[in-house]
């Protein structure tokens, strides 16, 4: 007799699907819904006038306006700088190109709030070292440069965000078929005309998508405005939310204002992502070459050395100067002394590892980011697998929930997590490290989904089918075929989460408790308390940890790639 295989009522695939939906609902769905509910409803009733009244409040209105101005300015500056340097590296005979290309990506490594801290030390109107120097040099009564202003915030944010544009545009220029430009040249067009009429229009989609990334990031950015703006009363939405909640000791009214501002953030982010999606679809020109040839390079001639010097100076000023400043300030015996050897001491750095508050912060950051990276990577793999590979009913819910994390700014996630995990559903993990952990998982789920689904899309269905045809079960196929093939995607997801989580500030700053500071929070808090030297010393330690992390990971990934 033949054994007929009967389908169970609930298959394993459906269980995985349900579980995936559950994870996304709990981690991102409920927090977002609670934010909208809190924003629009009061005492169970729809409260639109209340919503509008808060927006009309000059205080919040100003924060909204500032956020937009900062985002717009930062996008403009970053895009100009990014496109210029991308063009310089990809399309001219600038010397030491490979090195320069690597150097232009270094600003990514320097957390922007640490950069802002350094610039405050150098250029604050009262005590900035450069300002003091210039005042003496030029015999001025007032400081010539005020970094603690809207302009200052825009410039500093741009310094650390322009690589988004640089990366996109540089790779587009590099992959672009050089004959597209050569055929314009043989048609009689000079290099300027070609740049204007052919090259720029063809890489415009990349420029715009880089610019939108910057806008998205800047709109919801906490660190730089917090360090350079709050002291002067300049707030953007994230810093305003933080200020309201902390000045009221976490009152529900303040949280409600926060949710309303968050709603605006989420809507703006969604619009930006929609625009990016539209541009990518519309502008998807086939500009990639069939056979690779060296693109024609503009001979800079007399400008070659000056432009190299400009590039090196740019890196020097944006990366090396602030880094050195942080290390020097971190070693000062007292803040305000000059940088002479007699005023410097190693003791400050050693103290970071002895003092409970900083020691805890480092430990918290390390285990929280490791844990969050691991869990988010695994959850992301599972969810991506369900979205990309199996096609059960109800998949669309998952897809909808899956794109949600992309448009959630860190501040919004923090608020949502507070609303969800402060006892409303019987679980109160407020003031414990768990709430930060949950927030990290929510915040970085987007990275994990992106990296994992990209890897999964590379694995063609026929590979799995071949394995099944060889007699392997679904589970064996997963274990022996799919997982090994997507391993690089999983590993890169892990690092894409671990590294930013290590230096996270925006989300953690709304969630930390007395014993659960992270590195970012500790630096920020020390700076707020006027402990500039300690803040700088901790920042120096953080920079060393980040540098070791980045380089060892890059080496590891390079080795992995070689093996594949």
């Amino acid at each position: 007799m033949v054994d007929i295989y009967t389908k169970p009522k609930i298959s394993a695939a459906q269980i995985v699907l349900l579980f995936s939906i559950l994870v996304l609902v709990v981690v991102v769905g409920i927090p977002v819904i609670l934010i909208f509910l809190t924003a629009f409803f009061e005492d169970g009733k729809l409260n639109i006038p209340g919503f509008l009244q808060i927006l009309k409040d000059p205080d919040t209105y100003q924060a909204l306006w500032n956020s937009l101005v900062i985002a717009f300015g930062t996008t403009l500056v970053s895009t100009s700088v990014g496109v210029f340097f991308a063009w310089l590296v990809a399309r001219t005979d600038l010397p030491f190109k490979k090195t320069m290309k690597a150097l232009f990506l270094v600003p990514f490594m320097l957390p922007s709030f640490i950069g802002a801290l350094a610039w405050k030390v150098l250029l604050s109107p009262r005590a900035g070292y450069i300002n003091k120097f210039l005042m003496v040099l030029l015999g001025l009564d007032t400081a010539p440069i005020d970094i603690m202003s809207m302009g200052g915030i825009i410039v500093i944010e741009s310094m650390y965000l322009f690589p988004f544009v640089f990366l996109q545009v540089e790779s587009a220029l590099e992959r672009m078929d050089p004959t597209l430009e050569e055929s314009a040249r043989i048609s009689g067009a000079g290099l300027l005309t070609i740049t204007r009429k052919i090259t720029l229009p063809l890489v415009l989609p990349s420029i715009l998508s880089g610019a939108l990334l910057v806008a998205l990031y800047s709109l919801a950015h906490f660190g730089v405005p917090a360090i350079l703006g709050t002291e002067k009363g300049i707030y953007n939405i994230p810093t305003k939310i933080y200020e309201r909640i902390y000045s009221s000791g976490g009152s529900f009214r303040a949280i409600r204002v926060g949710t309303i501002l968050s709603t605006i953030l989420v809507i703006s982010a969604a619009l930006i992502l929609k625009a990016q999606d539209f541009l990518l679809k519309k502008g998807k020109y086939q500009i990639i070459a069939g056979k690779s040839m060296r693109p024609m390079l503009l001979k800079l001639r007399a400008l070659r050395t000056p432009l190299l010097i400009v590039s090196i100076l740019y890196i020097g000023i944006t990366v090396i100067l602030p880094t050195v400043t942080i290390f020097l300030v971190g070693g000062l015996k007292t803040y305000g002394l000059s940088f002479e050897t007699k005023n410097l001491t190693w003791a400050n750095y050693l103290e970071i590892f002895r003092w409970k508050m900083t020691k805890d912060a480092i430990w918290n950051s390390v285990y929280l980011s490791l844990g969050a990276a691991l869990v988010t990577m695994l959850a992301g793999t599972m969810i991506s697998y369900v979205i990309v590979k199996s096609r059960p009913k109800g998949k669309f819910i998952l897809e909808l929930l899956g794109v949600l994390p992309f448009s959630l700014p860190g501040t919004v996630i923090a608020l949502g997590v507070i609303l969800t995990w402060s006892g409303r559903f019987g679980i109160n993990i407020y003031n414990t490290p768990w709430i930060i952990f949950v927030a990290y998982v929510a915040r970085y789920m987007a990275f994990s989904l992106k990296s994992n689904s990209a890897a999964l899309q590379q694995v063609s269905d026929s590979l799995e089918e071949a394995s099944r045809a060889c007699g392997a079960t679904h589970f064996q196929t997963l274990k022996n075929i799919v997982l090994p093939l997507i391993r690089p995607g999983m590993i890169s997801a892990f690092f894409l989460i671990f590294l930013p989580a290590l230096r996270e500030l925006t989300t953690s700053v709304l969630l930390y408790g007395p014993t659960t500071r992270t590195i970012g929070v500790a630096i920020y808090a020390l700076n707020e308390d006027g402990e500039t030297v300690r803040a700088a010393a901790l920042a120096s330690v953080a920079l060393v940890i980040i540098l070791i992390g980045e380089t060892s990971i890059r080496k590891f990934l390079a080795r992995l790639q070689k093996q594949e």
Binding site: E182, I186, A189
Partner: protein
């Protein structure tokens, strides 16, 4: 008068010589092809003529005027050469319509509007694109995109048209069709064609004269028929069409297949200056094949026969060597392992390498 002249042109890429001391004259209105395997330096030569690559040594003259010269360190930039060029990957601009693509070189030259429209129309008409003038290239097929590139190149009425493997991204049927169209355009506009290809049939069909190149060195320059009938060396013979190289021993004007020196010679008219052993080279179609083990000719046997439709393709063993023979099917089919005798009609003699 010669339109285009290359004098001892040399190009190196990091010590590797891509083109070595190339001398060439191309006449006005001529269709001239550069033929060779990939990496032989043919595209580099074309790009030097276009002005995209500088010359390490030598000069390029057009109509007696210096366009590139390593001695004078003078290079007329590509945009001022007034050449037309078509690339392998089409290189039509995806953000411009068909019309705007073709009009671009005329706009750059600031041709008055009325004249410009006339010329764009003419170029589109002669490439059969008139109906698609408002479409974007991504909506068109590969063949149509390559027509845009052609129309764009002829719109300025160039003196010289440079074509860099323009048909190798198209399917075989379309390739043949486009060949005629290119010739047709040349008749109508009267430009000189420089055509780079690795496809020998394409070069034969198109060119008035052609050049065969290998590893940066010119192997032979001549009319297609000359090159086919009188190949200058073993490389040219093997690159043009199917070829056999049989090692033979020469003795008093007679040539015997190696290890079969007791029987009949394959030829009584072998040259004497090639030493003891040399190659007898011949086309698979130039061999007569008769079944049976006795009679005239060289004894051989059928190692494998493959039916190709009109033709039968044989691998024939002669001693320890194997040659390829193709005969029409109507002559009958020999079986595998069958003994046979062969006679070779037209032999080229080449020294051992």
């Amino acid at each position: 008068m010669s339109e285009l002249k290359l004098i001892s042109v040399t190009k190196r890429f990091n010590q590797v010589v891509a083109v070595n001391k190339l001398n060439l004259e191309v006449k006005k209105g001529e269709c001239f092809s550069f033929l060779g395997p990939s990496g032989c330096g043919k595209t580099t030569t074309l790009r030097m003529i276009a002005g995209f690559e500088d010359l390490d040594e030598g000069e390029l003259l057009v109509d007696g005027e210096v366009y590139s010269s390593s001695y004078k360190r003078y290079y007329l930039p590509p945009e001022r050469r007034d050449f037309g060029m078509v690339f392998q990957a089409f290189a039509v601009w995806p953000h411009l319509t068909v019309w705007d693509n073709v009009a671009f070189p005329l706009q750059i030259r600031r041709i008055p509007k009325v004249e410009m429209e006339k010329r764009v129309k003419e170029a589109l008409q002669s490439t059969g694109l008139s109906a698609m003038k408002d479409l974007y290239p991504s909506k068109l097929s590969g063949g149509e995109q390559q027509r845009i590139a052609l129309a764009r190149a002829v719109a300025i009425n160039p003196k010289v048209m440079l074509l860099d493997e323009p048909l190798s991204n198209l399917d075989p049927k379309l390739r043949e069709e486009m060949r005629f169209e290119i010739k047709d355009l040349q008749r109508r506009f009267g430009f000189t064609i420089l055509y780079v290809t690795h496809d020998q049939a394409e070069a034969m069909a198109l060119s008035d004269r052609m050049l065969v190149m290998n590893s940066g060195v010119v192997q032979q320059i001549g009319k297609p028929l000359e090159i086919y009938n009188e190949p200058a060396n073993k490389f040219v013979f093997s690159f043009i069409g199917l070829s056999n190289f049989l090692k033979v021993r020469l003795r008093q004007g007679k040539a015997y297949p190696l290890d079969l020196e007791e029987g009949n010679p394959i030829s009584h008219e072998a040259p004497s200056e090639l030493g003891d052993v040399c190659y007898a080279a011949f086309r698979p179609a130039e061999v007569d094949l008769v079944s049976g083990s006795s009679g005239e000719g060289i004894p051989a046997s059928v190692a494998r026969s493959t039916f190709l439709g009109d033709l039968v393709d044989y691998r024939i063993s002669i001693g320890n060597q194997e040659i390829r023979v193709q005969k029409p099917k109507k002559n009958g089919v020999l079986r595998n392992g069958e003994s046979c005798r062969i006679r070779i009609n037209r032999i080229h003699w080449f020294p051992l390498d």
